[in-house]
Amino acid sequence: MKLLAPGRTAKWVIGSLVLLGFALPLVSTFLYTLRDGDGLSGVHWAALFDADQAAIFGPIWTGLGNSLVLAALTVTIVVLLLAPTMILVNLRFPSLKSAFEFLALLPISIPAIVLVVGLTPIYRQIGRALGTGAWTLAFAYGITVLPFAFRAIQASIDSVDIKTLTEAARSLGSGWPSVLFRVLAPNLRAGLLAASLISVAVVLGEFTIASLLNRLVLQTALVAVNRIDAYAASIFTLMALAFAFVMLIIIGRLGRAGSGRRQQ
């Protein structure tokens, strides 16, 4: 790699220019939240805890609550529906693996805005049957996170010999439930955890579907609050981006832990 690496000057020039370009809007947003007349202060941050202004932030807290419920439900779909199906396909129907992969990655090619056009009539029916609560969006979000979750879990499945593990467990008398929960799940935990975290991040950032189906989630609340108090929207933007950044750092660690084990 040393031979391929760019020279010191090239590295620094590219690095600092891009860093500058990408830091500028984020730093500006931070300075914007500190603006107080002509000076700088933490008054807009303090307003978050001000009881008098609680009404303004109301939608954000409700939206955040809804988004967290949605994140939990979406993770449930990933862990209890997607993961067992992937294990089943890998164990019993290896011939379906490439078809399954195609299906799981398909949502990348279908814009959310297109999906929404078709989801509108479906959610009209769901509204009649289950009500118009924000939690029903979890069904749609399960599809949105599918490609991300699939990649994370598949990487884990590929790094563990699940066939041998299963046969060993079965030959020692385990039933299928204990094979799934006590043998395979612990071995795939890095992939399952990464898939769950990335699903949480995607759900917390989702706007298109929630907005056009008129559900209050974190992102739609931000847009609503932005019209009243642009500073509040900026503060929550920074916090949400920082939160997602930390999540992805953890996911990166998990991924390396998984591939490290494969090398041994």
């Binding site: 990408f22 947003t29 999906l115 932005n226 750092i249």
Partner: protein, 310 residues
């Protein structure tokens, strides 16, 4: 049929390995159980992926009374709609080109860094955040930066005497989308292109040196030809990404429908636009056609590129 043969083969293998009785777990019943196990996921996909896609694409084929018609598709040659598709296309192409070149340079600059080192980890995570979860929040960041009251706008006005909105406020129009889009296109390119770049083997550089080449000739004769497919695959992916992106534009542009996703928003929120029924369906059809073709080309090129990455 196919699965039965596989099941049979594996049963033979298993029974030849283990002599004990009762070892083969009734394959016929188990296989049927296996198919049943696929059912929940299959029905979920059918209801929430296949059905909405079919509904979205086919709703343009019916008029207000549910009668089959191709009339709605005439709207695709309507000058307003055509203009929106063209604007969407050039916005996507421009930001894809800028994003791909910048992203590739970032990947190149990171070549010497250890995978899993602090800088690589931070760049990977930051890229993921900006590429996939930015959406609405990127729009806010740019409003805070170069909006009418933005930090940079006011700084330039007060200290450099430059008014970036001298010819009108362009941030909430089509040109205003370029910067925020580049902001999520570059990170996506970093994520997509980095594996191709790290797959370049040091042995190829050594071979090139041994044969009398230098650093420059390595890139022009070996590096770039090998990376070209990955690079163009990246451009296509970025194009599709920008073309289908909705959130950033929706948060930034509250009036007008300068790009196709915003036109769909207008069609969904008001019943009839341009006096057409089911316009959203027709637009969705157009979008999926464009994105589908681009993504098919992407996976073809990507397959070719993957040859060098094993």
């Amino acid at each position: 049929m196919n699965s039965k043969t596989i099941e049979g083969a594996s049963r033979m293998r298993r029974s030849s390995r283990s002599e004990g009785p009762g070892q083969s777990p009734a394959p016929r019943g188990a296989s049927r159980l296996g198919w049943l196990g696929l059912l929940p996921f299959a029905s979920y996909i059918a209801i929430f992926l296949a059905l909405p896609t079919i509904l979205a694409v086919s709703s343009g084929l019916f008029d207000g009374d549910g009668v089959f018609t191709l009339d709605n598709f005439m709207v695709l040659v309507n000058p307003v709609i055509l203009r929106t598709f063209l604007d969407s296309a050039w916005l996507s192409l421009l930001t894809a080109a800028i994003g791909a070149v910048t992203g590739a340079l970032v990947c190149y600059a990171m070549l010497g860094l250890r995978e899993g080192g602090p800088i690589r980890s931070a760049v990977d995570a930051a890229s993921g955040v900006l590429a996939q979860f930015g959406g609405v929040m990127l729009a806010f960041a740019f409003i805070a930066t170069i909006g009418q009251q933005g930090v940079v706008t006011l700084f330039l006005k007060d200290h450099a005497g430059v008014n970036i909105f001298e010819n009108g406020v362009w941030l909430y129009e089509l040109p205003g989308l370029i910067l925020p889009y580049v902001f999520f296109q570059v990170p996506l390119m970093v994520i997509t292109f980095m594996p191709a770049l790290t797959a370049l083997r040091p042995q190829w550089v050594e071979a090139n040196l041994a044969l009398g080449g230098d650093r420059m000739s390595f890139w022009t004769r070996v590096g770039m030809p090998i990376l070209a497919p990955s690079f163009f695959a990246g451009v296509l992916l970025l194009f599709a990404n920008a073309f289908s992106s909705y959130a950033t534009a929706a948060a930034l542009v509250s009036q007008g429908s300068q790009i196709v996703p915003l036109q769909i928003r207008a069609a969904l929120t008001s019943e009839t636009v341009l006096g057409r029924e089911n316009l959203a369906g027709v637009l969705a059809f157009g979008m999926i056609l464009v994105v589908g073709i681009v993504m098919a080309a992407y996976s073809l090129i990507q397959r070719r590129a993957a040859r060098w990455q094993s």
